[in-house]
C-alpha cells in the first residue's frame, strides 16, 4: 500500500509565534505523499483530538505526523487516539517543535521547525506498525531459599492465588530464624514465628517445598523459565513464570582483622545468642563483655542491630558490664535509635575509635586496647568475652548462581547490581527478583517491605495484561542472522536465545516479554539482522537524511 501521510501542525494556542505555520504548510503541502497539512491551535484538547480523528478518517491516511509539543507529553495520548480509530498506533511520528524549537531559541525558527518536521515525515514513511498481543505465561513461581524471606514470599504469593515452589538447600526450612535471639519490638519469638510459618506452609496447597535441594540450571526467560532442580542424586525439570531469590546472607566473624583466631573467649554474635538462651549452663557469669562493630566493614547496619539487641539481652540475663567499641553507630533503620537510647540508658557504654583497636587474648581473658576519641585517651579493657565484629556476606553459591543467571552482583558480591533502576528488588533480567539478605544486609523491616514489593511485582507481571507486549518490535531476521552470538552476549536483559530453525541452522530469537527495547543488540549486530521497528537503522538514517 502506498504511503499516504497526514500532517497536523499545532501552534499551541497561537503561542508559537516564531514559527511561520502557513509557510511550512506551503512548503510541505507540495510533497507528493502528503494528503493534507492541517494547522490547529490545540491538538491535545478534546476538540483537537476530534478534529484529528475526523480528518484521518475522511482522508483515509496510513501515516500520521504531528508537529506539536514534546512527545514525552503527548505521544501516549495520540497513540491511544490512533488506536481508537483502528489505525496502528506505531504509525505515528511526532516532531517536537515546541520545547526543542520554538521555546529554545529566540527569533524566527521556521527553518528549524521545517527541518524537524521533515525528519519526522522521513521517519513516518518507513514506519511499519507493531501489533500488540499477550504472551502466554506460566503462572507458577520459584522461590529459592526457605528462610524467613523465602517462606514469607511464598505465603504472600499464595494469598494472591499464585502457586510457588520453595527450593531450600538445608534439610529444613527456617534459615536464620532458627538462630536469632529475638526481634526488637516484637513479642513473637523467632522460634514461634518459624513454627507458625512452617505450619502454614505445610497446610498450604499452593506451596510445594523441596528441601536439601538446589537450583542446578536456569534457562529461558520471564514467563517461561526452565529450571533444573537437583535434590540429592535426583534431578527434575520444571517451568516457572518468575523466580524470587531469597537465599539470605551469611555472617563471618573477622577476628583475623585483629590478627586473632576465634577461640574460647572471642566469640560470634551467634555463639553469644546460644549462651544467652541457656545462661544457667555457663560455668561462670562473665563480668565484662566487649563488642566490636563497624570497623572492618562500615556497611554494618545489621551487625550493629544485633550488637545492640544482644547487649540489651546481656544486661537482662547476665547483668554484665557491656562495652561497645565502634566507629560510627549505625542507626539508620526503623527503631534503632530508640534501641540505642535504651542500651545507653541501661548502662551499656559506647566507645568510639578511629584507628583499629588492638586485641589480644591472655589467661582466658581478652584485652582490647584502643584510643577512645570521645575521651581522647588510650583505654584498655580486659573482658571475659569479646563478641567479634561480624560481616554480612553473600551466601555461598551466590557467585555460581549469578553467573548461571548472567546477572551482575554488587561490589560486595551480593545479588543485584547497584544500578538505581533495579532497586529495590528487580534485576536486569525480567522476572527475576531478589529479596531480603541476599541483595545486601537488610534489617527485618526492610526485608519485609522487600518481600511485599517483590510479590507485588510478580503479581503485576503474571496478572492479565501484565504480559501484553508489542509483538516483534525488535526482531532478528532469520535469513540474515549468522548465529554469531554477539547480540546474546550484549543483551543486558537476557532476552535473546538461539533457536533451531531447521536441522542445520540456529538463529537468534528475541523474546518480547523479556526484551526491554533498548536497541543495544540492533546497534551491534554485525550482520544488521536485528530490526528495531520505530528505531531501525533506516528510520534513524531517514531522520539524519532530512538535515
Amino acid at each position: 500500500m502506498p504511503v499516504k501521510l497526514g500532517l497536523f501542525l499545532c501552534d499551541c494556542g497561537g503561542s508559537l509565534k516564531n514559527i511561520d505555520f502557513p509557510k511550512i504548510r506551503g512548503n510541505l503541502g507540495k510533497l507528493e505523499d502528503i494528503a493534507f497539512v492541517e494547522i490547529s491551535h490545540n491538538l491535545c484538547l478534546e476538540e483537537g483530538e476530534k478534529a484529528i480523528a475526523s480528518r484521518i478518517l475522511r482522508e483515509n491516511v496510513n501515516r500520521v505526523v504531528i508537529a506539536a509539543c514534546s512527545p514525552a507529553l503527548c505521544e501516549d495520548k495520540f497513540m491511544r487516539l490512533l488506536e481508537g480509530l483502528g489505525l496502528n498506533s506505531d504509525l505515528l511520528s511526532i516532531a517536537n517543535i515546541r520545547e526543542q524549537c520554538s521555546w529554545a531559541h529566540k527569533g524566527d525558527v521556521t527553518e528549524k521547525a521545517l527541518e524537524i518536521i521533515r525528519m519526522a515525515i522521513n521517519k513516518a514513511r518507513l514506519l511499519q506498525g507493531v501489533e500488540r498481543g499477550e504472551v502466554p505465561v506460566n503462572k507458577e513461581v520459584l522461590v529459592v531459599g526457605g528462610g524467613f524471606s523465602g517462606m514469607k514470599s511464598s505465603l504472600e504469593l499464595s494469598r494472591l492465588g499464585i502457586r510457588t515452589t520453595i527450593v531450600e538447600r538445608e534439610s529444613t526450612l527456617g534459615g536464620k530464624l532458627k538462630e536469632l535471639e529475638g526481634f526488637y519490638g516484637l513479642r513473637t519469638s523467632p522460634n514461634e514465628m518459624f513454627a507458625s510459618m512452617t505450619r502454614m506452609i505445610e497446610e498450604d496447597k499452593n506451596i510445594e517445598v523441596f528441601t536439601s535441594a538446589e537450583v542446578a540450571r536456569v534457562q529461558g526467560e520471564v514467563g517461561d523459565f526452565a529450571i533444573r532442580i537437583r535434590s540429592g542424586e535426583k534431578e527434575s525439570s520444571q517451568s516457572f513464570g518468575a523466580i524470587i531469590f531469597a537465599t539470605g546472607y551469611r555472617t563471618e566473624i573477622l577476628p583475623q582483622d585483629f590478627e586473632l583466631k576465634p577461640g574460647g573467649n572471642i566469640i560470634s554474635q551467634q555463639r553469644l545468642v546460644e549462651m544467652l538462651q541457656a545462661p544457667e549452663k555457663l560455668a561462670r557469669r562473665p563480668e565484662t563483655i566487649g563488642f566490636v562493630v563497624d570497623f572492618s566493614d562500615e556497611n554494618s547496619r545489621l551487625p550493629t542491630l544485633s550488637a545492640l539487641k544482644n547487649a540489651l539481652a546481656v544486661k537482662d540475663k547476665l547483668g554484665s558490664e557491656v562495652y561497645v567499641f565502634c566507629k560510627n553507630l549505625k542507626v539508620d533503620s526503623e527503631g534503632t535509635e530508640k534501641l540505642y537510647r535504651e542500651a545507653r540508658d541501661r548502662g551499656v557504654v559506647f566507645l568510639k575509635f578511629e584507628e583499629k583497636p588492638r586485641i589480644y587474648g591472655e589467661d582466658g581473658r581478652v584485652t582490647i586496647e584502643a584510643r577512645d576519641v570521645l575521651l581522647g585517651e588510650e583505654v584498655t579493657l580486659l573482658c571475659d568475652l569479646l563478641v567479634a565484629e561480624e560481616k554480612a556476606l553473600p551466601p555461598e553459591g551466590t557467585k555460581a548462581l549469578s553467573s548461571m543467571l548472567n546477572i551482575e552482583t554488587d561490589s560486595q558480591g551480593f545479588y543485584q547490581d547497584e544500578n538505581v533502576h533495579l532497586y529495590p528488588v528487580a534485576s536486569g533480567r525480567k522476572g527475576v527478583f531478589f529479596v531480603g539478605g541476599c541483595r545486601g544486609s537488610l534489617d527485618l523491616g526492610r526485608a519485609s517491605t522487600d518481600i511485599a514489593s517483590a510479590v507485588g511485582s510478580v503479581h503485576e507481571l503474571l496478572s492479565p495484561g501484565g504480559a501484553m507486549v508489542e509483538v516483534e518490535k525488535v526482531k532478528a531476521d532469520s535469513q540474515k542472522c549468522r548465529a554469531c552470538l554477539t547480540c546474546i552476549r550484549v543483551c543486558p536483559h537476557e532476552a535473546i536465545r538461539l533457536v533451531r530453525v531447521d536441522s542445520e541452522r540456529w538463529v537468534a530469537k528475541i523474546y518480547d516479554l523479556a526484551c526491554d527495547r533498548c536497541g543495544i543488540c540492533a546497534a551491534i549486530c554485525p550482520a544488521t539482522a536485528i530490526k528495531f521497528e520505530g528505531y531501525s537503522d533506516e528510520q534513524i538514517l531517514a531522520e539524519v537524511e532530512a538535515i
Binding site: 484538547l45 495520548k77 516484637l186 556497611n299 539508620d332 530508640k338 532497586y423
Partner: protein, 414 residues
C-alpha cells in the same frame, strides 16, 4: 467488592502504588494536595558527578510520565480527603477539590497568559518545568484579580478558555475498596533551632534549599552575591536524633555526601566540611562511596552549636572538634543544615478523618512492628515517608508493598 483504590498523596510512594495497582487491573484515584504530582522528590536534583551517585532522583520523572497517561489512574489535583465512611471493600471517600481557576484538562501550557500577566514575578506559571499535569496555576498571593483588583488579562487572552475565576470548591464522593495513605513528610523546620541562624542569615541553607538550587540552576551559588562558594559546611542531624525527633532520618548523611561530592566535582578548589555525630554509611555501595569521599572532603566529628555572621558577612561556626577535644571556630561562606524528615503537621487531621493512629513523633502508626504498611483500620494502608523516614528506593519499595497488600485484601474480599 470494589476493585478501585484511593491513593492519598502523589509523591514517589503514592505514584508507585498507583502504577502498581493500575497495572494489575485496579482503578486508582490519585489525590494530590498540590497543583502537580511528584511530591518532594520531584523537586530534587540529579547528584551525579561524572558517574551516577545513586540518588535515584531520575526514577521520579519516569514514573510520573507513566502515571500521567495511565488510563486507569485519575489524578485529582488541589484535592484533599474531607470525610470517610464505610469499611474495607466499600469505603466512601469524600474529596474536596479546591477551586484552581485554571481547568487542567483545558490548559495547553502555551504560556500566552504569562506574557500578558502584569505582575512581577508572574502570578500565573507552571509549578515546575516538569510538572504533571503540565499546566499553569495562579498564585493567589500575586494575582491582582484574586487580590481584589480589576484584571482580566489572562482570562481574556487564553486561547482555550481554560481560565475561570468564579469556580467554587467541588465535593465528590468516591467509592473504593481500599485506601493507601502516602502523604509524605515535611522537612524539619530549621528555624526551630534559632542558634543556627536559618532564615536570618541568607547563606545558611537547608538540604532542601540545596536540592532546589541545583535543580533550578545546575550549580551552587551564594544567595547573597551569586558567586560560587569556596568554603562550605554541612551540619548533620539537624532535626534528627533529638528529644522530639528520636529517630535517624536515614537520608541526610547520604544527600550531604552526594552534594559534597557534586560541589567538589564542579569546583575542585572548594573546601567542603561535614560535621557529624555518627555517619550512616550502610546501604548498597555506600561504604565505598564514603571511602571515596574521604579523599576530598573533610569530616569532623562534632556538630556546631551556633552560627554567627562575621563583619565580612561570612559565617562563623562554633563547634567542638571531638577528635581533638577542643572548641573551635571556623568561618565558611555557606553552611548547609542537613535537615531531617519530619512528619507532616496535617497528618493529625487526616488521621482523625480516617480513624488511624499516629505513632511516636507523629508518623502514621502501623498495626504491628515490621509490618510497616498496615494500619489499625482494615483496608487502610501506608506507603512511604508518612510512616517514617525513607530514601527514594525505600519509598518505592514501600509503595509497591502497600499496593501488594491492597491486592491481597481486595482479592480476599471477592
Amino acid at each position: 467488592m470494589n476493585k478501585s483504590t484511593v491513593v492519598i498523596g502523589g509523591g514517589i510512594s503514592g505514584i508507585t502504588s498507583a502504577l502498581e495497582l493500575a497495572n494489575s487491573g485496579f482503578r486508582v484515584y490519585l489525590i494530590e494536595r498540590e497543583a502537580a504530582i511528584g511530591g518532594q522528590a520531584a523537586s530534587f536534583c540529579c547528584k551525579a558527578t561524572e558517574v551516577c551517585t545513586k540518588c535515584s532522583v531520575c526514577l521520579v520523572p519516569q514514573s510520573l510520565a507513566k502515571v500521567a497517561v495511565h488510563p486507569r489512574i485519575s489524578i485529582l489535583t488541589h484535592s484533599m480527603v474531607a470525610g470517610l465512611s464505610g469499611e474495607m471493600g466499600d469505603f466512601k471517600v469524600e474529596v474536596l477539590r479546591k477551586p484552581q481557576y485554571i481547568t487542567p484538562e483545558r490548559c495547553i501550557a502555551c504560556g500566552i497568559c504569562a506574557e500578558v500577566c502584569p505582575t512581577e514575578p508572574k502570578a500565573i506559571l507552571p509549578p515546575s518545568p516538569e510538572a504533571i499535569p503540565y499546566c499553569y496555576v495562579i498564585d493567589e498571593r500575586l494575582c491582582l484579580r484574586l487580590r481584589g483588583e480589576k484584571c482580566n488579562l489572562c482570562q481574556g487572552i487564553c486561547p482555550t478558555d481554560a481560565i475561570a475565576f468564579d469556580l467554587k470548591p467541588e465535593r465528590q464522593e468516591l467509592s473504593v475498596g481500599a485506601i493507601i495513605v502516602a502523604t509524605g513528610f515535611e522537612v524539619f523546620n530549621a528555624r526551630e533551632i534559632g542558634s543556627l541562624g536559618y532564615g536570618r542569615y541568607p547563606n545558611v541553607l537547608t538540604g532542601l534549599d540545596l536540592e532546589r538550587i541545583f535543580n533550578r540552576e545546575g550549580y551552587l551559588k551564594l544567595p547573597t552575591n551569586g558567586k560560587e562558594p569556596k568554603n562550605i559546611a554541612f551540619v548533620q542531624c539537624v532535626g534528627s536524633r533529638d528529644e522530639s525527633h528520636g529517630y535517624c532520618s536515614q537520608v541526610c548523611c547520604k544527600y550531604a555526601m552526594r552534594f559534597a561530592r557534586l560541589i567538589k566535582h564542579q569546583n575542585p578548589d572548594a573546601q567542603v566540611t561535614i560535621f557529624y555525630i555518627d555517619l550512616q554509611t550502610a546501604g548498597k555501595g555506600f561504604a565505598q562511596f564514603y571511602q571515596e569521599c574521604r579523599e576530598s572532603i573533610r569530616f569532623i566529628r562534632g556538630v556546631p552549636v551556633e552560627i554567627l555572621p562575621t563583619p565580612s558577612s561570612e559565617l562563623e561556626v562554633r563547634f567542638e572538634n571531638i577528635s581533638e577535644g577542643k572548641v573551635e571556630r571556623e568561618t565558611f561562606d555557606l553552611v548547609t543544615l542537613s535537615v531531617g524528615i519530619a512528619p507532616r503537621k496535617d497528618s493529625w487531621d487526616l488521621a482523625r478523618i480516617l480513624g488511624t493512629n499516629l505513632a511516636d513523633y507523629g508518623f502514621f502508626d502501623t498495626k504491628e512492628t515490621f509490618n510497616s504498611v498496615e494500619t489499625n483500620v482494615e483496608g487502610i494502608f501506608l506507603a512511604g515517608t508518612c510512616q517514617g523516614p525513607k530514601d527514594i528506593p525505600d519509598s518505592i519499595a514501600h509503595g509497591i508493598a502497600a499496593a501488594e497488600r491492597v491486592m491481597e485484601v481486595l482479592e480476599k474480599c471477592q
